[in-house]
């Protein structure tokens, strides 16, 4: 009998805190703080976002075109911010597959290298024009050379099983990631529908109760319809209802977790109260809805500004 050994990369105790901030030109800054619990048995060496929407926007990438001038591959090394020079960002979009991640920079397979147990690091991030949704980050511990030993012939049944184990050799954590596309030119109805599509996945991921998600869906749909039929005030009313629904369980949702000075992040804010929506999901939805309101307000102000200029120019004539 032959035995195989895999040193699993799941002996970390990771937490990852997501922040979103709207900066100029409607760009959203995504930043992350990574921590490894003090009881962890391994340092963290990788944080990966796999399976993002193929067309998710990440700014400042490097695009390589093919011989026919079509996009061959898009690299994200230059897009990804890192906390220090011990880490580097990496990722690519090729044929509609998108992976980004951060890796501890190592010249060897030394298993001691990475974010040590008890340590925390902020400064991972990137910019995007897409709105945040909730996605899963894969946190990988450092085990040196991480493949199964011994190895088996490709495509054998054993190899398939071992590959399956290797591919799932990580600790998952929810993060805010660019999941909801923003149309250009800005169309609030389309954006609301995109938000609605993403929120509909939450019950399956245990991010929201089904009944609560159904109520969210009704109001999201109503808001989208209102925008579609040029009733922005009505749409605003539905969005306010949605914001109230969120605040029922999460009163201080509009404050960043490290600003409320309670020393806890999303996953740590547990209480005995039954929650209808996950805190990160609530924060993400809160951000998205306020983005739409803010943008509609800006659009309205711009339109008003244009109208008054036109009026003045006519008067002058």
């Amino acid at each position: 009998m032959i035995t195989a050994q895999l040193k699993t990369a799941t002996k970390t105790e990771p937490t990852i805190l997501s922040k979103n901030k709207l900066i100029e030109n409607w760009i959203i800054r995504y930043t992350y703080t990574l921590s490894n619990g003090s009881k962890a048995k391994q340092p963290i060496e990788d944080v990966m976002f796999r399976g993002l929407p193929p067309k998710a926007n990440i700014l400042n990438s490097l695009v390589i075109t093919g011989s026919d001038n079509s996009n061959l591959i898009e690299f994200f090394e230059s897009s990804l911010a890192v906390p220090n020079n011990q880490w580097y960002g990496s990722g690519a979009r090729h044929q509609e597959e998108l992976i980004i991640g951060w890796h501890y920079s190592a010249d060897s397979f030394d298993p001691q290298l990475g974010l040590q147990p008890g340590a925390s690091l902020k400064g991972f991030g990137f910019n995007s024009i897409d709105l945040p949704g909730v996605w899963i980050a894969q946190i990988v511990g450092n085990v040196g050379y991480h493949h199964f030993q011994p190895l088996y012939e490709n495509d054998s049944d054993v190899d398939e099983l071992m590959s399956e184990i290797e591919y799932n050799d990580f600790v998952p954590r929810n993060v805010a990631a660019p999941m909801i596309s923003v149309s250009a030119p800005f169309d609030p109805a389309i954006v609301m529908e995109n938000i609605r599509t993403h929120v509909a996945t939450w019950p399956g991921k245990q991010l929201a109760e089904a009944a609560f998600a159904a109520q969210l869906d009704l109001n999201l749909q109503a808001a989208a319809n209102a925008y579609r039929t040029n009733q922005p005030e009505a749409a605003k009313g539905y969005i306010e209802i949605l914001l109230d629904m969120i605040r029922r369980d999460h009163k201080d949702i509009d404050r960043e977790d490290d600003e409320d000075n309670d020393g806890k992040n999303d996953s740590q804010k547990t209480n005995t109260q039954h929650l209808t929506i996950d805190r990160l999901a609530a924060r993400v939805l809160d951000f998205d809805l306020k983005y739409v309101l803010k943008r509609m307000r800006h659009e309205g102000e711009e339109n008003d500004g244009k109208k008054s200029k036109d009026k003045e120019s006519r008067k002058e004539r």
Partner: protein, 492 residues
């Protein structure tokens, strides 16, 4: 009126009639013609009566002979059958016989004995009659006369005189049975059998193998059908044996080493023998190449039928050249000179990987001499797949150890300490890059830092004297065979 007689061999001998081989005189009509001839004939008849008396005595003898022949006709038939069966017992193959009715042909002469040896026959009485008229009556310079035609039993023309000066109004018919020209396989004529008044010939067969070509992947099977039919596409009435074998072109499929080291497996056919119509299963080996299935039928006019089987992995193409990688391997002293084939999708991933390797700041390594981080050399691409994929037998012996590299989705990248190798300091980052760029939807890419093959008795697939870096503990030098084996397209 004349009388019809069937002339047996013996009878013909008695009356001295000669005929060419294959003919049979089955009906003979004698007609006396003309009044003057008849007068002459009367005088002759008197003579003839005397002759007839003699003839009667002869005939009596002939009749007794004939009676004897009739009495023993069954015996004679059995004798012939015995001969036929003897031929079978003596080892000659059973053969089917095709039987068709003969064709009755007609000729005309004027009764002179030498004209019995006409070798030409027209197909109908009218045609025979007309031919005789044109050949003999007109050309022979007989007095003017007119051809009237035939009345179904004899030719007619006016003012025709025979060599005695006696006017004649009829020619003389005789007919023979002849075999028709075969519509199918005309090279093999029928033979007339007087005993049965039939035309016979040994049936010939033809062999087909369908389809006549196929393309399958290494290790797969394909069904062919061998079919024996008569030349006019009917099923044989007997069992016609067929044997089957497989061959392979020794250098095909990219194995330019041929059989220098070992004999090449030709694949398997089953069954190896059959008859008439049957299915043949051909199973290829894991080695790509050109195979030939040959079915053999000794009783068939075409003896063999052949089908060609291309055993190959489809859609493999030469890896395009690029400034981002260099090709190695396939040297003249190596068995496989053409070792850089991938599927187009895999080739594109290789390019993406190579571009990434050259573009990322991460891969710049510190030059110890200048203390400056420098861009690494381009990836050096060794074995991918052969032109038709399949087993890549690096030792030219048709077996492993180059187990993978079969489907045009895997490639070896140099990672020892030779020129162009990936620097060991970049191994970790290289693997992370593979996960990010090559892994795709399946997650991590499949790759492996490979070294020299196992020593016997070792449980490890590859010899690793130090932790996964293929470094000898004795010499601290890297395995010269160390390389990254990368599956460019995700598993399965």
């Amino acid at each position: 009126m004349g009388q019809c007689v069937r002339l047996t061999e013996e009878t013909k001998k008695i009356i001295g009639i000669q005929y060419s081989k294959g003919e049979a005189m089955s009906t003979l009509l004698f007609w006396a013609t003309g009044n003057r001839q008849q007068a002459t004939g009367n005088r002759q008849q008197a003579t003839g009566n005397r002759q007839q008396a003699t003839g009667n005595r002869q005939q009596a003898t002939g009749n007794r002979q004939q009676a004897w022949l009739q009495k023993h006709r069954l015996t004679r038939w059995l004798a012939k059958l015995f001969v036929a069966l003897s031929l079978v017992v003596s080892g000659e193959a059973l053969a089917e016989v095709e039987t068709v009715p003969p064709v009755q042909k007609w000729a005309v002469a004027n009764g002179v004995n030498s004209l019995w040896n006409f070798n030409f026959y027209q197909l109908s009485k009218s045609e025979a009659c007309l031919f005789f008229y044109n050949t003999w009556v007109v050309n022979a310079g007989y007095p003017p006369h007119t051809y009237i035609g035939d009345n179904g039993t004899y030719c007619r023309w006016t003012n025709f005189f025979d060599h005695l000066g006696i006017a004649a109004q009829q020619g003389i018919y005789w007919s023979k049975y002849d075999c028709p020209d075969p519509n199918v396989n005309p090279d093999v004529p029928y033979t007339y059998r007087p005993a049965t008044n039939t035309c016979e010939r040994e049936l010939k067969y033809k062999l087909t193998l369908t389809p006549d070509s196929a393309t399958i992947e290494p290790g797969q099977s394909y069904e062919f059908t061998a079919t024996v039919t008569t030349l006019d596409d009917k099923q044989p009435g007997i069992s016609v044996p067929v044997s089957v074998k497989a061959e392979v072109e020794a250098n095909s499929g990219g194995h330019d080493h041929g059989e220098k080291v070992a004999k090449r497996d030709k694949g398997k056919v089953s069954p190896a023998n059959g008859s008439n119509s049957f299915q043949i299963n051909f199973t290829s080996t894991q080695v790509s190449g050109i195979h030939t299935i040959t079915a053999t039928c000794d009783q068939c006019v075409n003896k063999t039928a052949v089908a060609k089987v291309n055993v190959m992995v489809a859609s493999l193409e030469t890896i395009p050249s690029s400034a981002f990688y260099a090709f190695i391997g396939g040297e003249e002293d190596k068995p496989h000179h053409d070792n850089h084939y991938l599927t187009p999708a895999a080739a594109e991933r290789l390019l993406v990987m190579a571009i990434n390797y050259r573009s990322q700041q991460r891969f710049k390594v510190l030059d110890w001499n200048t203390n400056i981080r420098v861009t690494p050399s381009v990836l050096h691409v060794n074995d991918a797949s052969l032109m038709w994929g399949g087993r890549f037998d690096i030792k030219a012996n048709w077996t492993n150890p180059h187990i993978t590299h079969m489907r045009g989705i895997e490639v070896d990248i140099r990672a020892n300490d030779e020129v162009g190798a990936i620097d060991a300091r970049n191994f970790k980052a290289f693997e992370k890059m593979l996960d990010d760029v090559v892994g795709g939807k399946t997650g991590r890419a499949k790759y492996l830092l490979e070294c020299t093959a196992d020593k016997p008795g070792s449980l490890l697939k590859h010899e690793r004297k130090a932790e996964n870096l293929c470094i000898s503990r004795l010499t601290l030098s890297p395995d010269t065979n160390r390389h990254y084996h990368i599956r460019l397209i995700g598993a399965k």
